[in-house]
């Protein structure tokens, strides 16, 4: 009786310990079994975040890869966007890093400094990978020389490049009898207000304005105004926060005045009942930003839209940002050559790129393919070339993409609302926020120096 009981308890506890142990080593088991099933069978893991369209595109890129590389299996790990960073860092802490994975531009420094990413410069340059046919911005975003991002060795390939263009509601312009904007010559700031005043109107005659010129989100649109006015968030060597210059103040004030002085945007109360994105989709707003990822949604709009450069400030040259995500190879991978080749397939395989273009969520990473895509001026948006001009010509990386942490940049936006509401002048706000941002930037630089040691 006692023996049986003892046997039972022992079994239970051993079983539970085994379960716990199995949980801990779960990740390794997968790679081990892959290796054990035969010397010629290798398993690579690829971790990414994104929607179904992206997953489909990668499945076809991976299918092409597996056909060309018999004996290599690729396992896809898809995660929720907001879980991705946490999961990746957990895998690093647990020493079970996926072979190939997404990386944000802004994280390149930290991951390289800590020896997580593999230097793939030689392999990329010496393979039949046609580097000249991939956007320079896309490659440069993942170059790092130990000090600055943008130059040096290659630690990743672009998953995409995301130019943030300005769109306008063509149908609205035509109905109002306003001349269409020139796709080659940007508006000046004064013209932009002028046209805006013509667009802002009460179309149904009930005494209430129901159509507005714009309604920009400060976090994504302010950069275009700041840069085109000759200002910037940082100095050239990324050590000083330069938001307290007159040019910067002028740009931020202009941005706030669009709402408070010129009244070209839905009022604060109106914007709060229905955000400007929804109003743009309803056809109530004249100008609105458009990224390549918006194209699939905007294909269903019941008005025609097109792309133009952002209005240009004192420099006369338009500006905007280009986002990007990268595909990197883990330094710890067992199958170096196979993993690097997989990264190349994911970044530029024609099958995968075609899928993404068909899904209307990104522009092709291959320049010749992108040119061919933009040459189709029949389908909406007609001026697809604007996207390519931004990537190859006047787009810039986000300010925090080249600093060790983004904390200093986040600080800029946390308390900005009073300026946008017209309760505080831009100059006052910038003067107050600059020291706080500088302090965080200094901390970020110090963090970088310590990590690089």
């Amino acid at each position: 009786m006692i023996n049986r009981k003892r046997l039972f308890t022992t079994t239970v506890s051993i079983a539970s310990i085994l379960t716990l142990a199995a949980c801990g080593g779960g990740g390794d088991a997968a790679t081990d079994s892959g290796a054990a099933s035969g010397d010629d069978s290798k398993t690579l893991t690829f971790m990414f975040r994104g929607g179904q369209d992206e997953q489909k595109a990668y499945e076809s890129a991976i299918a092409a890869y597996e056909t060309d590389n018999p004996g290599v299996d690729v396992e896809i790990i898809a995660t929720d966007p907001d879980q991705y960073d946490t999961k990746l860092q957990a895998s690093i802490a647990g020493n079970d890093i996926p072979d190939v994975f997404y990386i944000a531009q802004g994280d390149v420094m930290a991951y390289v400094d800590n020896g997580i990413l593999m230097d793939i410069t030689e392999e990329v340059e010496n393979s039949d990978f046609d580097i000249a046919n991939v956007w320079e911005f896309g490659i440069d975003s993942y170059r790092y020389d130990g000090k600055n991002v943008g130059e040096g060795n290659i630690y990743g390939l672009p998953k995409d490049v995301g130019p943030f263009a300005l769109g306008y509601n063509k149908t609205m312009f035509e109905e109002m009898g306003i001349p269409l904007p020139d796709v080659d010559v940007p508006y000046t700031w004064d013209q932009f207000v002028e046209v805006g005043k013509q667009l802002t109107a009460d179309t149904d005659g009930n005494g209430e304005v129901d159509q507005w010129a714009n309604g920009f989100n400060v976090a994504w649109s302010l950069q275009a105004f700041v840069w085109s006015n000759g200002a910037d968030f940082l100095n050239e060597d990324k050590t000083k926060v330069t938001v307290d210059t007159p040019e910067f103040a002028e740009a931020l004030q202009y941005f706030a005045d669009l709402q408070n002085v010129h009244e070209l945007t839905p009022s604060i109360a109106q914007a709060q009942t229905l955000d400007t994105y929804q109003r743009w989709m309803n056809g109530e707003i004249g100008f609105f930003p458009v990224g390549p990822w918006d194209m699939s949604t905007y294909a269903g709009l019941d008005f025609e839209y097109d792309l133009i450069p952002w209005p240009a400030g004192s420099t006369g040259v338009p500006a905007t940002f280009v986002g990007s995500l990268g595909i990197a190879v883990a330094d710890s991978t067992e199958y170096k050559d196979e993993a690097i080749e997989l990264a190349m397939y994911l970044s530029t395989s024609e099958e995968g790129q075609q899928q993404l273009v068909d899904a209307q969520i990104q522009i092709p990473n291959l320049i010749d393919m992108a040119n061919e895509w933009a040459a189709d001026t029949e389908s909406v948006p007609n001026n697809k070339k604007e996207f390519l001009d931004i990537v190859s010509d006047y787009g810039r990386p986000m300010p925090a993409a080249s600093t060790y942490t983004a904390e200093w940049y986040d600080e800029f936006f946390i308390n900005i609302q009073p300026v946008l509401d017209g309760d505080q002048t831009a100059a006052d706000y910038l003067k107050a926020v600059q020291p706080r941002m500088q302090e965080l930037l200094d901390a970020s630089i110090m963090q970088h120096e310590q990590a690089a040691k």
């Binding site: 308890t9 904390e407 936006f413």
Partner: protein, 310 residues
Amino acid sequence: MEVSEKKTSATAARKIKKSNLYRDEHRAAFLFILIPVIGFILFSMIPFLISLYASFTDWNGIGQMNFIGLKNYQNLFQDKYFWQTLSNTFYMMIGIPIGLLISFLLASALSRKIVGKTIFRVIYYIPVVSSLAAISILWQWAYNGDFGLVNQVLDLVGIEGPNWLQNVSTVKPAIIIMAVWKGVGYSMLLYLAAIQSVPRTFYEAAELDGASAFQRFRYITWPMVKPITFFLIVTNIIGGSQLFTEVNIMTPTGGPQYASATVVWYLWRQAFSNWKMGYASAISVVLGIIIFIITALQFYMNRRSSYKLD
């Protein structure tokens, strides 16, 4: 002499025999206890100790740990966002007494003979078993300024609702309302069990003595469910200080002017976006100490006014 010796050896033998049996049972019991203990050591104790150590280092989460003494703690006390998020966290605990009151009233109602009370119990309990992430997304939609369910309902009675999650003054109440809604079913269930376990005889005796309905509540029901209230307050405060998922999904940037950023959300940002795992660990240690002190205080206060039915 001889007899007594025999006697002692007999008891001794019995003792040995008994303790053999005990030992076996103890061993079995020990093995049963071992399972959760191992789980606790592996998944709570070791991470806690690592985190405690990390709070004295400049660890970035993926690289080396360098010991830097109390530096993180010094920075912490000068970090205004730490204090702001900490006070946001405690502000949002206003929902705890509100939630307890609502669930107690619901439990009182549902312990009576009401038509369809099983259905009501199920309805109130559904949010508890639903995924928190899914619920947060639903409420995010419900709070949308124009299309949101909340404002549509307000519109029916002629109130123009704000864009709940975008306003400094409404984002905290919005999250509190949601948290109350989510938690009410669980508290209600515990209260229901407690109310139903109060012996009928107490009420009968009170009625004979001419006690009013309020007096019966004040002197019988309330003291009888007090252990449950105590348990709920303790667990709710511990849970409330760890508020994260709702905030992160509904206001991914911490809300307008950080109005809805909680301390756990802030430490998560520090750890996973700003490469400051050491600093984040220091925040979590301080938070842990605060929770411990509050809980200890509650136990102390509860002991002084506890009521027991033997």
